[in-house]
């Protein structure tokens, strides 16, 4: 299968490891990965902040970029950005009165999958340890991001994949379904409420005793990781893709709480 990677702007610029890991996973399964060069961002920061007019060129660029390449399906290591591509792009085009763009955006959205969705539903990954060689000898807790959980209805896909990683001990996160408080510009506009939500999320994460908090969205993980770092908690955040791509011969480095790489001692 020919798979187009949508890295998403935050992973492209801040967490390239997650996109590299996504490429590694797909190639390990024998698929060809292409990276449409014109891609930039899904535009949800603009949409969710009410800047619909400014979102139109961002959406149009995404549609153009993913029309320019020939592929079977597109994938992004983010539930939130995929939900934006699927649900917001047609709406932004409709609101701006671009019927043509709406139709094209809908077509791109239909071919776009969130990573765990693609792995489980399309590529048939049921046993990451065997099919992907996934190995990660750490205690991990998992935060299911809101948009993956509620807009894409990912259900148990991400946690299920984590449970199938050799050496990984998954511990339940109390109040896991509660938002971490990020919400894009919400974290700046309503910084106090956002911080209060984050404080409860990080307290729950720390209560598990896990050394890593995993998730499927680097936006939420940047928020949670930023809090864990400020608290000097010693708990790191890591993307699902990086954990799945980790193997016994090439184990993933567990980053420090703010994203800095810490040397890992493999048992």
């Amino acid at each position: 299968m020919k798979i187009a990677l949508f890295a998403t702007c935050i992973v492209d610029g801040m967490y390239p490891r997650a996109a590299q890991a996504t490429v590694a996973l797909l190639e390990r399964l024998g698929h060809e990965v292409v990276f449409p060069k014109g891609q930039a961002c899904c535009g949800q920061m603009h949409v969710n902040s009410g800047y619909f007019k400014e979102a139109v060129p961002v959406v149009a660029n995404h549609v153009r970029a993913f029309e320019s390449e020939d592929y079977d399906v597109a994938v992004a290591p983010s539930g939130s950005c995929v939900a934006s591509v699927k649900h917001q792009h047609p709406m932004v085009a409709r609101r701006a009165g671009h019927a043509g763009l709406e139709e094209r955006a809908t077509a791109v959205g239909k071919k776009t999958y969130e990573l765990s969705e693609l792995l489980v539903d399309v590529l048939g990954v049921t046993d990451p340890a065997i099919q992907l060689g996934s190995y990660f000898p750490h205690t991990v807790t998992y935060h299911p991001s809101c948009h993956g959980m509620r807009l894409l209805k990912l259900g148990d896909r991400q946690a299920g994949l984590l449970r199938g990683v050799k050496g990984l001990e998954l511990v339940d996160l109390p109040e896991a379904d509660q938002c971490c408080g990020f919400g894009g510009t919400f974290s700046v506009k309503n910084a106090d409420v956002s911080s209060a939500m984050l404080a409860d999320k990080t307290a729950n994460i720390r209560s598990t005793g896990a050394s890593v908090c995993a998730g499927g969205d680097y936006s939420c993980l940047m928020h949670i990781g930023g809090g864990l770092s400020r608290q000097d908690s010693g708990v790191a955040t890591l993307h699902l893709a990086e954990i799945l791509a980790s193997t016994e011969t090439e184990p993933a480095a567990v980053p420090g709480p703010a994203g800095q790489t810490v040397k890992v001692v493999v048992k």
């Binding site: 702007c9 492209d12 930039a40 603009h46 902040s49 009410g50 660029n61 409420v193 939500m197 994203g259």
Partner: protein, 490 residues
């Protein structure tokens, strides 16, 4: 041929208690400082969430019921003028009188006129959001009439000279010890040895209210439903105080928002399943009162309905926002909202707090009224409200729509930091080459992070982020650059 758009005739914004007088972030900051409030809210909302999930989860057709509720309400909004006229005709034919109020002032003046005509200076009240919304109690008090709340929680709030902070549990911000203290201070003839045992508190309220029920000549209620094809009204409640008010006095005045209509009596089948399970987390509420006009020798002999617009037509005129009028005031969205749980109801200013309030208030008043433009931002867009809503109001989408209206309302003025930042971001993020060029600056951010590879302080609006979070040092190269090198592209 030229045509002049005439717009909607007679649109007027809602008035009364629909306004945030202070921007949400600053009101929320103050409320967040109240540790007792946060403990009370956390305890109360998590209890009710669990109850709701238990009773909605046990119904195999819960999702179909939500669909049916949503479809019925969509049809009501599409046929509202016709259904309102049918409702008026049926109430009138059965001996009731229908009054039409365009806003809070008109409604209050009609109600006061009706009370005055009965020659009384006190009335008993059934808990009603509509009368809260129009500030009726305060209006009547200014005009020499005392309105006594008979719902226990509303009584607590009224005795404390406070404002409700939740649409179903108005005193959710008080714990039982605080309630006991309010009773001891404000309730006449209260037992000075009153404890904070819930049963003792309820008995004290019961004794206090009984005298009012038996002497009141006029009662005022809201309505959960109005049935167009029969003129029937319905109130659902838990305590029986509503039943007392609806049956004992000679005159009953019901204030009902125009969106409360259902086409037929049979439609109650859907809503009497959706409402109690979503609101109190019960399979059925203890008291459901239905009445149609007047019946000789049974209940009030004098019955009035005040149909209230107060900005509802404004909301109806907004194609993206009109489904907010489907709301049946169950409060499920409020109980699952992480922002409400921390900020509490008072931070929203309006009678309607939480996610539904953050859309309903600006839709009814216009987004430019007072500080109502700050309400649609009071959400992380986590989507818990949409999942919980029994009539499937897509609250997150409407919040975003109203943010768009707020941003557009401020275009042309002095640009804010957010305006400047997002305009620049739109330029950079609408072209892969431009974003690639910006990403060449990543090493600068890396240098700024310093030795511990953390950015701990940012200027301007971004300072909100660094008040509780670090930002990691950016990578030395973007994924885009890594890919290009791996694939030998330029």
């Amino acid at each position: 041929m030229s045509r002049t758009p005439l717009g909607m005739p007679g649109l007027r914004p809602g008035s009364g208690n629909l306004f945030a007088e202070e921007k949400f972030p600053s009101a929320a900051r103050r409320e967040l400082g109240n540790a007792q409030l946060r403990r009370n809210l956390k305890h109360a909302t998590s209890t009710i969430r669990t109850k709701r999930l238990n009773v909605t989860g046990e119904l195999p057709d819960w999702e179909e019921l939500r669909e049916a509720g949503s479809a019925l309400k969509t049809s009501v909004m599409a046929r509202l003028p016709e259904l309102l006229e049918a409702f008026e005709a049926n109430v009138t034919a059965r001996g009731g009188t229908v009054h039409w109020a365009r806003d809070a002032e008109e409604a209050n003046s009609i109600i006061h006129g009706l009370v005055k005509a009965e020659g009384v200076d006190e009335v008993v009240k059934v808990k009603s959001m509509a009368t809260q919304e129009i500030g009726m109690n305060e209006y009547l008090e200014e005009h020499g009439t005392a309105a006594y709340e008979t719902d226990l929680a509303e009584l607590i709030v009224q005795l404390d000279h406070d404002k409700p902070s939740h649409i179903l549990v108005p005193a959710i911000h008080k714990n039982r010890t605080e309630v006991r203290d309010i009773f001891l201070k404000e309730m006449p003839d209260v037992d000075p040895d009153l404890t904070d045992e819930p049963r003792r508190l309820a008995m004290a309220a019961r004794a206090h209210l009984r005298a009012k029920f038996l002497t009141a000549k006029v009662a005022i209620s809201g309505a959960n439903f109005g049935i167009a094809d029969s003129g029937t009204l319905g109130v659902v409640e838990s305590e029986g105080n509503g039943r007392m008010c609806l049956t004992l006095p000679e005159t009953l005045i019901t204030v009902m928002g125009i969106e409360k209509l259902l086409p037929t009596f049979a439609d109650l089948e859907v809503f009497l399943q959706l409402l109690p399970r979503s609101s109190t987390g019960e399979r059925m509420n203890p008291y459901t009162s239905l009445w149609t006009g007047v019946t000789e020798g049974d209940g009030p002999s004098n019955f009035h309905v005040v149909l209230l617009d107060n900005g509802r037509t404004n909301a109806l005129a907004d194609e993206m926002g009109r489904s907010a009028l489907h709301c049946i005031r169950c409060s499920a969205c409020i109980n699952v909202c992480p922002v409400y749980e921390r900020a509490g109801g008072h931070a929203y200013g309006s009678t309607y707090p939480g996610p539904i309030g953050a859309i309903l208030s600006p839709l009814m008043t216009g987004v430019e009224a007072e500080e109502n433009g700050s309400l649609p931002y009071a959400s992380s867009l986590c989507g818990a409200c949409y999942d919980a809503c029994p009539v499937k109001i897509n609250i997150p989408d409407i919040l975003v729509h109203l943010r768009g209206k707020d941003v557009d309302a401020h275009r042309g003025g002095m640009p804010t930091q957010m305006d400047v930042g997002l305009k620049a971001a739109s330029w950079a993020l609408s072209d892969g080459r431009r974003l690639g060029a910006v990403e060449k600056l990543l090493p600068l951010g890396r240098a700024a992070a310093g030795k511990d590879k953390k950015i701990k302080k940012l200027p301007g609006i971004a300072a909100g982020w660094t008040q509780s979070r670090d930002i990691p040092a950016p990578p030395s190269q973007s994924f885009r650059d890594w890919w290009a090198k791996e694939h030998k592209e330029s």
